[in-house]
């Protein structure tokens, strides 16, 4: 056990910091603090330009092998990049889905032609992706997917509906889990298709959330088309590929996310000092608890970094989602009665109000708390299924 960074890690950190310092300037300067969960609608065009700047400098797909245009960076270097990025308050990334979910899926399961076609666009920040998994009838029970696709005249014809799709409004492509064997059930007969978003057969309808904003959309497929070659893995093997996609998160994002959490907590503390609520023993106890729990999340993320054990991601998800939801409640309590009125119409939220409301989604999306507990009970604790 040795928890110090090595010299090469410090050098890498300095390189990242220097680049961000040099490049978050000019028109990009105003991107600091924009985007991210709850604020995906901010500065979207400029953030897409920033994504291309990151790609041109080789900062996308760090962990991918060099032959695919990555840097073959270690997990710790990926953490360092993401931490420095968060410390610089650089903008929320517009292509998380492409870089962190699809790219490793293509490297692991994709045909070489698909890798050649799609990896460069992700690594240059030029092609943006969204994820088409959930459906109105397939939320926690993802295997209940009903959107169907059939091969017709050399291309897939897709009909059905996806929901809770982030970034659908500006994504170029979508990776979609569809049923390609008519009459198949559950995990069998599914396929993982890559579908262009800008076509007549696709309609995107934003979902207005409890925040009044729209990060998520419904996506309707009505005779949408994609080339027969745009399938990752074999037809009928989509479940395995989709589960693989979900398994690529190995703790890097968790550690980086905590930098943003620290900033949010520091802001709540600052507010509590400014308005005197810090003198309320309940408020100060909750602030200290939040601080303690954030430290605990960091030590745990360090210990489990790179873990592929079943359940590690579920523990991490439960920890941060519950923490962040409590922070939202703490933030609005610190604000006090002033938080009951808005700064503008039609429904303009300030920071604490947005945090309070948006954090209700944290414990639902990407596997609800209840699903995470099922995973831990069944796969980690080995409790009997019946």
């Amino acid at each position: 056990m040795d928890l110090r960074y090595g010299v090469e890690d410090d050098d890498f950190r300095a390189e990242v910091r220097e680049w961000l310092e040099q490049n978050l300037r000019g028109e990009f300067a105003r991107l600091r603090g924009t985007g991210g969960s709850g604020r995906e609608h901010e500065e979207i065009e400029l953030r897409m330009a920033w994504e291309r700047a990151l790609g041109a400098a080789g900062w996308i797909g760090l962990g991918l092998p060099r032959e695919w245009g990555g840097r073959s960076a270690t997990l710790l270097q990926q953490v360092i990049f993401a931490e420095e990025y968060a410390k610089a308050d650089a903008p929320g990334r517009v292509n998380h889905m492409g870089e962190h979910l699809l790219a490793p899926t293509l490297v692991t399961f994709g045909a070489i032609t698909l890798q050649r076609r799609f990896l460069p666009g992700i690594l240059r920040g030029e092609e943006l992706w969204c994820q088409g998994y959930s459906e109105p009838g397939a939320g926690s029970d993802l295997a209940a997917v009903r959107t169907r696709a059939l091969l017709e005249d050399g291309s897939w014809r897709i009909d059905g509906q996806k929901v809770w799709t982030s970034n659908a409004a500006f994504a170029d492509w979508c990776f979609v889990l569809v049923r390609t064997e008519p009459g198949s059930e559950r995990h069998r007969g599914l396929s993982y298709l890559l579908v262009p978003m800008r076509q007549p057969g696709i309609e995107v309808r934003p979902i207005v959330q409890i925040t009044g904003t729209s990060e998520f959309s419904e996506v309707f497929f009505d005779g949408a088309r994609t080339d027969a070659s745009c399938i990752v893995g074999e037809a009928g093997d989509g479940w395995r590929v989709a589960m693989g996609t979900l398994g690529f998160e190995r703790g890097v994002a968790t550690l980086a996310q905590q930098i943003g959490f620290e900033r949010e907590l520091a802001h709540v503390l600052e507010l509590a000092r400014a308005n005197g609520t810090i003198a309320d023993p309940d408020i100060s106890a909750r602030i200290i608890d939040a601080w303690i729990e954030l430290r605990v999340m960091r030590y745990h993320a360090l210990r489990t970094l790179g873990s592929i054990e079943p359940g590690a991601a579920s523990v991490s998800k439960l920890l941060w989602a519950n923490w962040h939801r409590r922070l939202g409640e703490l933030a609005i309590d610190v604000r006090g009665p002033g938080a009951t009125t808005l700064t503008g119409t039609p429904y303009e939220l300030d920071r604490e109000q947005a945090l309070f409301l948006f954090s209700r989604a944290d414990t639902i999306y990407a596997g609800s708390n209840e699903i995470q507990r099922n995973i831990i009970a069944d796969r980690v604790l080995g409790l009997p299924r019946r």
Partner: protein, 361 residues
């Protein structure tokens, strides 16, 4: 950066666990707790002489193994799993404090006695006793409650004031002016005694200006030790509970198949594993990052204590009626959890301390 334990450290864990599984069986623990006034004497002898566990982190020049506090933590965790009543925790915390004072006064002979098999104890609340020096001779007086394993230790390290300056003193417990009264304990796996000192001769282990810092640091090391012990107990308690949920059938199925119970167990796992990460991190800071210890020590103690309390109280409930019987071990973990929390001054005080050290309040 490497969070995993080294091969040697993993081997140490296997050796200690194997020994304890063979010898520190629930029956042995029970007998020592109920009849042996909270002391498994013969097993303690083997742990210190055969296994040499108390000298793990003592300087090889004094006969120790020269390991770090990470190794000590591993032994604490494994002993914590068993709830074996032995004075391991106070002895290794005393050894850590003595090692830091080793260039000073009488620390070296005391460390040599620990290597030779002596148990020690440590009492760090300076409010209970005070000492004076006259002509180079130091005497200490006062009544010190809740001295862990006092009845089985040869000497005690005491936080006190010496001529109104904070100081860490060593007192011989079988010497003149020292009287120990063992107290019956709520947690019978932990022996506690009241130490009455009437002008007992003492040796000072700290330089006049360094006393307060040495005491604070000893407290933080004690917090880390307590965290590791709690993690071991919590993990064992959860394992026993999960095994019961497999075995116990009602309504024609194992009760562990009911989602209402599954989700509660999942939450206990989510309480335990991050607390374990924190405790491991804290053992590393003792020598790896001493500047962080003042925050991480109490923090580890708080979250490990929370995990043990949550798991042990749910353990009784999830066992149902059998969990409420004297015969079942569930109550031993529950009592250990609460007494550990109360002896560290309570959860609220610990949280406030962390808030202060983190600069929040």
């Amino acid at each position: 950066m490497r969070f995993e334990f080294s091969e040697d450290q993993q081997e140490l864990r296997q050796t200690v666990r194997g020994f304890l599984e063979r010898h520190a069986t629930p029956d042995v623990v029970r007998a020592a707790a109920e009849q042996g006034s909270g002391f498994a004497g013969s097993l303690w002898k083997r742990l210190v002489t055969e296994m040499e566990l108390t000298s793990l982190a003592i300087d090889p020049a004094l006969g120790g193994a020269g390991a770090s506090f990470v190794e000590v933590g591993i032994a604490l965790e494994e002993l914590g799993r068993t709830l074996l009543p032995v004075p391991f925790l106070p002895t290794v915390v005393a050894a850590a404090a003595l090692s830091e004072a080793a260039d000073h006064h009488g620390a070296v002979p005391l460390l040599e006695r620990i290597v030779a098999g002596a148990a020690a104890t440590i009492a760090l609340d300076a409010a209970h006793a005070s000492a004076t020096s006259r002509g180079g001779a130091i005497t200490v007086s006062g009544t010190v409650p809740f001295v862990a394993d006092g009845a089985h230790a040869e000497f005690a390290l005491l936080a006190t004031t010496l001529d109104n300056q904070p100081a860490l003193l060593a007192v011989e417990l079988a010497g003149p002016g020292a009287q120990l009264d063992a107290q019956p304990t709520l947690d019978q796996t932990r022996s506690l005694a009241t130490l009455t000192l009437s002008s007992a001769p003492a040796a000072c282990l700290t330089a006049p200006a360094a006393g307060a810092q040495a005491i604070a640091r000893a407290r933080d090391v004690l917090a880390v030790a307590s965290a590791m012990e709690s993690i071991g107990a919590a993990a064992r308690c959860l394992e026993l509970t999960l095994a019961y949920l497999h075995d116990r059938h009602q309504f024609g199925r194992p009760i562990g198949s009911f989602q209402a119970l599954k989700h509660r167990c999942a939450d206990l796992h989510v309480a335990l594993e991050p607390a374990r990460s924190t405790a491991y991190y804290a053992t590393w800071t003792v020598t790896g990052a001493p500047d962080e210890l003042a925050v991480v020590g109490p923090l580890a103690q708080l979250v490990a204590g929370d995990a043990l309390l949550a798991i042990s109280r749910e353990s009784i409930q999830l066992h149902g009626g059998i969990g409420f019987t004297w015969e079942h071990d569930a109550h031993l973990f529950f009592k250990r959890a609460k007494s550990s929390e109360l002896l560290c001054g309570g959860r609220r005080a610990l949280r406030t301390l962390i808030g202060q050290r983190a600069g929040i309040v």
